[in-house]
Amino acid sequence: MELKDIINPNNLVYEKPELLTENTMHYCPGCSHGVVHKLLAEVIEDLDIQDKTIGVSPVGCAVFAYNYIEIDWQEAAHGRAPAVATGIARTNPDKVVFTYQGDGDLASIGAAEILHACNRGENMVVIFVNNGIYGMTGGQMAPTTLIGQVTATTPNGRDVGRNGYPLKITELIAQLPGTSYVTRQSVHTPATIRKCKKAIAKAFQAALDKKGTSFVEVVSTCNMNWKMTPVKANEWMVENMFPFYVPGDLKDSSKADPESYTPLKN
């Protein structure tokens, strides 16, 4: 069979999701953000909720996410996406709201906002792209940077005495009664990408079912600032990040039952 016989619309098995715009992504070659964007577009398309989904993209490499998925978007200040999403979700209870945050954004400058939004159980989805570094500003240390990891501000490797410990914020989030689904995924192989898509779909379904906050961490690479090829970066991630940021579900239940909290007798 000739190539031209195979390449025929009837035989199509994989194509770009319709919700991805024609804009060329500004990300570095091989950046995990692109894969996560694609999964989001696919999930929103599969659930057919593009008319009621509002994305919030705070500062970080993905601040321009609004250029790539055909839905309504709000750009947010560094770290504040969970507050912005709270404002939308509270006043638009029939909409589906998600934030798309980096590790510097979510675990450092926006730590208060994410903890309180998750603790209130805001009905929203959080996509947390943890690449262990500040990508956008040129590779400085993030709260998630591993001990010994070299960054622009830890040129001799992260030192606990000077910089404190890497923050497993997802483990913290999983403790909060307002979250229903908390999971850690990755997008470095076809199998993990398919699994991550299922997790994102589940998180969006939870938002549709008004189950409180669902939180999907995607352990990711920043090959540019890790100073590796994209292929090498994936290997480095598996070898160094997975032992500390262990993939898998951290919580899969529902928001805590208010009845289980005994009220004060007034």
């Binding site: 070659p29 692109g34 997008v187 076809p190 990408i193």
Partner: protein, 74 residues
């Protein structure tokens, strides 16, 4: 067992030559072109087209969604 044959189309101009599709392919179909596209990237191509089984692994891992996959059962 029915045999499947596949083929992929790479959007040469959108490809950033990251090489992720090359390692994701179980059939060693893809390679990076010696040529560069207008943005200077060594875009991916089917160096070994007969081996493609249309599994979509390459397209799945592509961060820039520049691979379209076709498959026929024979």
């Amino acid at each position: 067992m029915a045999k499947v044959i596949g083929a992929v189309v790479v959007n040469n101009e959108e490809c950033k030559g990251c090489g992720l599709c090359v390692v994701a392919c179980p059939q060693d179909v893809l390679g990076q072109n010696k040529q560069v596209n207008s943005r200077g990237y060594h875009y991916s191509f089917m160096k070994n087209p007969e081996a493609c089984i249309g599994c979509s692994n390459c397209a799945t891992v592509c961060p820039d969604t520049c691979i379209t996959v076709y498959r026929v059962k024979i």
